[in-house]
Amino acid sequence: MTATRNAPRDADRAGELARELRRFLPAEAVLVEVEDLKPFECDGLTAYRQLPLLAVLPHTVEQVREVMRVCSREGVPVVARGAGTGLSGGALPLAGGVLLSLAKFNRILDIDRAARTARVQPGVRNLAISEAAAPYALYYAPDPSSQIACSIGGNVAENAGGLHCLKYGLTVHNILELHVVSVDGDLLTIGSGALDSAGYDLLAVMTGSEGLLGVIVEVTVKLLARPTCARLLLAAFDNVEAAGSAVGKIIAEGIIPGGLEMMDNFAIRATDEFCGAGYPIDAAAILLVELDGTEEEVAEQVARVRGMLESCGASEVRAARDDAERQRFWAGRKAAFPAAGRLSPDYYCMDGTIPRRELPKVLTRMDELSRHYDLPVMNVFHAGDGNLHPLILYDANVPGAIEKVEEFGARILDLCVEVGGTISGEHGVGVEKIEGMCTQFSAPELAQFHALKRAFDEAGLLNPGKAVPTLARCAEIGGMHVHGGKLPFPDLERF
């Protein structure tokens, strides 16, 4: 996360392009002044900042199409942005590019109660969809922790998950149709109101494509019936292995909880201090297990899960007494980031996925790395699906701290890949993990990604430099490992 210095903008070029765009966009929808561009200079990965050439804020699909036609013709790269809450720098602007904000696309177009779907514009906040569906006892299931602010368009671009995705799936499992503006300005309908569509599964390809394949201008999401009842169990354990084995047991016994989260001792203390959730602060790990469904189903599951937690050695099992207490127990987990922020001037939230059974080993290695780098780490873990969020605490003002954190982070991601996992569970690759892609994928695999990308965007104008590294980039970076004397990418020159 070495903070990028703002590469200089070509103000003359910006002016020319702005005139071109103002032929069909209102003047105030085309921003060229530095003060007006500042709000767009970074997303949730604030260590990377870059002013774009200019920013546009269209409010119709036709305007988006025209922006893409102009940019294609002029060879200007485009970075799309929803709410700018992303954590991997996916919406980081390019000095020579247009920042295309979908913020004005903020209307819920239609809620079809009978069909259980909602047609929404990409700038609509994730939580706003559930709020609008609430009168019908329906909701939109994927609930990333940033849901109060993040946009559904961004959720699609990142294939966002959330606390309940073990049971209810990721974004890709919860959408039906996208309207996408291609790099040439074509408007494509991908998917449909039916459960599948003809041809290749482009809905799956677009989801998680991080703004590289097209600009999303409309999303049709599935809505689900609200479960009638939800109960939360909190279990404390004296060691991480026991907590991990309890998770495995619950799953192996055939129960899929609505939510299943783990926090280590550091995270427990930090979040408890921060918001008084009432966590057992001496526990090595706690599990939060949420069970939802009908009253009868939940009562049965609560009894079974309680038994399993106890048989795995939980030192304490508490059931939230009512919905308010359930929300309070969750509030602690959801407050992991601000809690970290309270303990330390800076923190770096990591995101990786590992097979669940590897958790004790990964946490032990992380502990060793933490001591080696002298940087504290707190861990929150989507235990149900192996998605790990280590939060590394540091002080950016300390010389060399940022480089150290970066290196520590890269070692953690290498570890994820080493145990059979992946470098990004849900935050995307963006700019942040682009180098990790070189560890996770071979050269021909990266080349295949590039070939797929070119099928959508031959000239590489959509979010270039994000998500999938070039082979040359992989060869450049220092951290490549040479296994058994065999150099990776042997046909690329080295200097």
Partner: protein
């Protein structure tokens, strides 16, 4: 048959075909030959490349080589109380994992549990250049790179030869119960959708010959109280239609006339098309046995927001999948080229132009 890894041999065959631009038709158990357009190509037999390579019940993931019989995977999962949640049809004794995922077919549970592609976590494949590549992995939360694994699902062997697939699995339900009702098709569609909007443990809903059948799956108390709430007539376990529906053995689904697969928004009222119709997927799938003009079928279905596939009984050389708009067709051609630049993998299996 024992497990066997034919990666090297298969890779060599594909590379040789690439060198000579020789069309190949990947084949597992040949159980779904009727699907798609006829392809003139040399068979690439994948049936010998088989074996479950990894199965961790507590991780909810199974990985198997593409030639592994589907039945073998299902039996292995059942022994641990688990299942493939998308309830795939076999259509033949030799159905394999590779063919199942390449065809991307899902059974009656699909609208409630998810489709084949929802459960694909990763693949190893041979692309049209003969390169052996791996995408995805064995974990659900994985957003590194484009979702090539899910793109492969339903791509009918036109983008790559599948070598291995990793799939998420789920526990089998504790109990299941099937209820039957006397309904008109319109009533069935309306009620299936009403019920799907309520927190009921539905796992299948179909309608044929004047009767609706609804399956409830879950815990004993949950299924019990839902069944009491919905009413209808309990169908004894040996009479439930689900396997026969899935395998298309039900009377209205076989016979001489062409069989159409119509994928429509679930709330679509009964379609104005002649022929016998079975409603599946809670309304979202309509199977139609009819010799009505294909153009008429496509236009009625498109007007409802869905798409039509001539599933069985097409004339040789005819298009069987719903036509794609020009810009989307061009994109498909470019994607095809990206994986199979010389067009050697099942050319024309989906569309004449791809």
């Amino acid at each position: 048959m024992p497990a066997s890894d034919l990666t090297q041999a298969l890779g060599e065959q594909v590379r040789a075909a690439f060198e000579t631009a020789t069309p190949l038709r990947p084949q597992g158990g040949a159980s779904k030959q009727f699907l798609g357009r006829a392809v003139q190509a040399q068979v690439l037999s994948c049936a010998g490349h088989r074996g479950i390579t990894s199965y961790q019940p507590s991780e909810l993931v199974v990985s198997a080589r593409s030639g592994t019989p589907l039945a073998e995977v299902e039996d292995t999962l059942a022994a641990s109380g688990q299942m493939l949640p998308f309830e795939p049809p076999h259509f033949g004794a030799g159905a394999t994992v590779g063919g199942t995922i390449a065809c991307g077919l899902s059974g009656p549970r699909r609208p409630y549990a998810g489709a084949a592609r929802d459960f694909v976590l990763g693949v190893r494949l041979i692309n049209g250049r003969g390169e052996v590549l791996r995408f995805g992995g064995e974990v659900m939360k994985n957003v590194a790179g484009f979702d090539v694994s899910r793109l492969m699902t339903g791509s009918m062997g036109t983008l790559a030869v599948l070598l291995e697939v990793s799939m998420k699995v789920l526990p089998r339900p504790q109990v299941e119960a099937t209820l039957a009702f006397e309904h008109t098709p319109a009533q069935a569609v309306r009620l299936f959708n009403d019920w799907a909007g309520q927190p009921l443990p539905l796992s299948a809903a179909c309608h044929l010959q004047g009767r609706s059948y609804v399956r409830l799956s879950g815990s004993t108390p949950g299924v019990g109280s839902a069944a009491a709430h919905l009413g209808g007539e309990r169908v004894p376990a040996h009479e439930v239609p689900w396997t026969d529906l899935r395998e298309q053995r039900l009377a209205p689904l076989h016979g001489g006339l062409p069989l159409w697969r119509l994928s429509v928004p679930a709330t679509t009222p009964p379609l104005a098309l002649p022929g016998e119709c079975v409603i599946d997927w809670g309304g979202a799938l309509r199977w139609l046995r009819s010799d009505v003009d294909p153009g008429a079928v496509c236009s009625v279905v498109a007007a409802s927001g869905g798409h039509a596939t001539l599933f069985r009984g097409a004339d040789a050389g005819a298009e069987v999948f719903h036509p794609l708009p020009p810009a989307l067709l061009r994109l498909h051609q470019r994607i095809k080229s990206a994986f199979d630049p010389r067009g050697i993998l099942n050319p024309g299996a989906m569309y004449a132009d791809i």
